[in-house]
């Protein structure tokens, strides 16, 4: 992927850039808003990481300018604030995702991957498959190796979320947002508890593990 990063703090900027490069992406890193805006307007990027508070032209202005000129590039907004209104404000200004500092690299990487690979809306499957597991979205029936698995509605939603994003890491917060519509960080291991129940039903009775844990990042169903 070709990724534009606009971040004024050199440590954070290098951290993001080197991490993304190590994953095989091409990264342009700029440390001020003016150059960043120029680059965003002229270049062609798959996805953009934009810090909200960069000098000269601030992140929100860059975002509004991009959206006003109909640049379709997906933007992940980084913010140091994390105030009550900030997320809504960022999304309203045209950001596609939002991350509060400090963040783990795995979180950023997983979210960028999600942004760049949004499934085309026309292609709506009725059956999701992974290994020998099948999920029928119409009958809401789940089978593995021909064996029917009974899932609670939320377990179904959790599995569906992972299946639809097969091969991509889903972090705790991404699951909270996507499955439960929760936009804060609970102090209790709610995701882990639900995941362990889902695994008990989906993985435990079988030999091959379907849902893998990605250390320090989240969960994934392999492609």
């Amino acid at each position: 992927m070709h990724i534009l990063v606009i971040e004024d703090d050199p440590t954070t900027g290098d951290y993001i850039a080197s991490g993304l490069r190590a994953e095989g992406h091409v990264v342009d890193l700029l440390d001020n808003g003016r150059d960043g805006l120029m680059q965003a307007m002229t270049g062609s990027y798959d996805v953009m990481v934009l810090d909200r508070m960069v000098p000269e032209v601030d992140g929100m202005s860059i975002l509004r300018t991009l959206r006003a000129s109909k640049k379709p590039v997906p933007v992940l907004l980084l913010t140091a604030l994390g105030g009550v209104d900030d997320r809504i404000e960022g999304l309203n200004a045209g950001a596609d995702d939002y991350l509060t500092k400090p963040f783990a690299f795995g979180e950023l990487s997983a979210r960028l991957t999600a942004l760049s690979r949004r499934p085309p809306p026309s292609d709506e499957p009725t059956i999701l498959k992974a290994l020998d597991l099948e999920m029928n979205l119409l009958t809401r029936k789940v089978t593995r190796g021909g064996q029917t698995i009974d899932l609670q509605p939320r377990e179904f939603a959790l599995l569906e979320h992972l299946l639809r994003r097969k091969g991509r890491v889903q972090t705790r917060t991404m699951l909270l947002e996507g499955v439960w519509d929760i936009h804060f960080d609970p102090q209790t291991n709610v995701v882990e508890s639900h995941m362990s129940r889902l695994r008990t039903k989906v993985d435990k009775p079988f030999e091959v593990t379907l849902i893998e844990t990605v250390r320090g990042s989240g969960y994934r169903i392999a492609e």
Binding site: D9, T11, T12, Y15, M53, A80, L81, G82, G83, V84, D85, R87, I88, T100, K101, P102, F103, A104, F105, R154, W180, D181, I182, H183, F184, D185, P186, Q187, T188, N189, V190, E192, S193, H194, S196, R197, G216
Partner: protein, 433 residues
């Protein structure tokens, strides 16, 4: 009913009542004093005539003097009859018909009302003097006239002025009240505006506007400081997190990795406390209200109970909930889910091992646990930021959970009460209609 509580109206009514009372009492007293004076005067005149005639010893002269007096007097002001032997002087023929009988032994009723009658035995001679009391009757008429021409218009005028004053001050007071209400709601741009600068209410309005101005500036400054601190502190924390993560990618001995994990946990705790403090300050400043919309709190309670159900069960706790249909409220879904989550987590943390029950009764959200509860005299304390009771120092948590709950409840105009679930803590949040 609100009109009746208006101070200017009550003052006006009181003023008019006092004014009427004093004026009536004054008039009545003046009337009594003047009537007594008039009555004394009338008696005196009668006595004077008697003494005058008594002073003349000669019957002839006495009769002549009586004739003089009676000729000079207006019959309505004075009647007189003096009989000495067979001679009578008196304006009997001038007397109004029926006022006095021929021998004057008995006096008919009207005389007693209209005249003050005195009889005197002058030896020789019998005297009858009647002094007219018309002036007393006139006095009454005069006072009725004063009452009609002075008091009533004065009353009407005062009432009219009262109404105008009440209207104007009520509008002013209403404007001040409205502004205060808006300010209290967190909209710091509200101002009274001061079209009548020279009245005391105008002064108050101006002072209120100045205060709001200062408050807005202070809040703005605070917000800026908050943003600056957030930026200046979070950048190094971000770097710290970056370095810790980079360290995690290297080969480390077991004990170093333990230290690293602890450092990560501490960093996460710093961030969480920091974030919560910032957000509580923002909520108290009224931020978040812009995104208010219709939310079904009942469904949200069910959702949150479902989310925490698994982790509660892992901890051996029954998390139950009881709803009676949807509870539509106006609010921010994200903040309200945070409120419920914080209450559940507070119970999980401080009432470890006891069951948790969520309920919606009417428009009130109730969360109950079976833990140690909070002593009545410390319930206010735990709602303050960073407040933690001595007993809970050893358990993890930032001490901001309930303060955040309170801030979110306040933002939604929902009073929060901590009570005793005997045993345990009961939190009640009553959402407005």
């Amino acid at each position: 009913m609100k009109t009746l509580r208006s101070t200017p109206l009550r003052l006006s009514v009181l003023l008019i009542a006092v004014f009427t009372l004093f004026m009536s009492v004054g008039l009545a007293m003046a009337f009594w004093v003047m009537r007594d004076a008039l009555a004394a005067d009338i008696t005196l005149r009668a006595e004077q005539v008697i003494e005058d005639l008594r002073a003349i010893p000669e019957p002839e002269e006495r009769l002549e003097r009586a004739h003089e007096i009676i000729s000079a007097a207006d019959p309505r002001a004075m009647l007189l009859r003096l009989t000495i032997g067979d001679q009578t002087v008196g304006s009997v023929s001038d007397l109004p018909e029926g006022i006095i009988d021929a021998d004057a032994t008995a006096l008919p009723e009207p005389i007693a009302d209209s005249y003050l009658v005195r009889r005197a035995d002058l030896a020789p001679g019998a005297l009858l003097v009647a002094v007219g009391r018309d002036s007393v009757a006139e006095l009454s008429e005069t006072f009725v006239a004063i009452l009609g021409f002075a008091l009533l218009p004065a009353l009407m005028l005062t009432s009219a002025i009262g109404i105008v004053v009440v209207r104007r001050t009520s509008a002013r007071v209403e404007a001040i009240r409205g502004t205060l209400h808006t300010l209290a709601g967190g909209t710091l741009t509200a101002r009274v505006g001061s079209p009548h600068p020279d009245t005391d209410l105008g002064d108050i309005s101006r002072d209120l506007d100045r205060m709001a101005e200062a408050q807005e500036a202070a809040t703005g400054a605070l917000r800026q400081i908050g943003a600056d601190i957030a930026h200046d502190l979070k950048t190094p924390i971000q770097r710290l997190a970056v370095r810790l993560e980079a360290l995690g990618d290297t080969d480390l001995p077991e004990d170093a990795r333990d230290q690293l994990d602890q450092a990560r946990t501490e960093t996460a705790q710093i961030i969480d406390t920091f974030q919560s403090l910032l957000q509580i300050a923002q909520l108290e400043g009224g931020q978040g209200r812009d995104t208010f919309g219709p939310v079904d709190l009942g469904a949200l309670v069910a959702d949150m109970a479902e989310i925490y159900d698994a982790s509660a069960e892992d901890a051996g706790i029954h998390l139950t909930h009881a709803l009676n249909g949807p509870l539509p409220v106006t609010g921010d879904r994200n903040l309200l889910s945070r409120l419920i989550a914080n209450l559940i987590e507070n119970a999980l943390r401080h009432a470890a091992g006891t069951d948790i029950h969520l309920a919606v009764i009417g428009r009130t959200l109730i969360v109950r646990d079976g833990g140690a509860g909070i002593p009545a005299n410390q319930r206010d304390v735990v709602l303050r930021r960073l407040a933690r009771l001595e007993a809970s120092r050893s358990t993890p948590g930032s001490g901001l959970g309930l303060a955040m709950v309170k801030a979110i409840a306040d933002l939604h105009g929902a009073p929060l009460a901590l009570g005793d679930a005997s045993p345990g803590l009961e939190v009640r949040i009553a959402f407005p209609d």
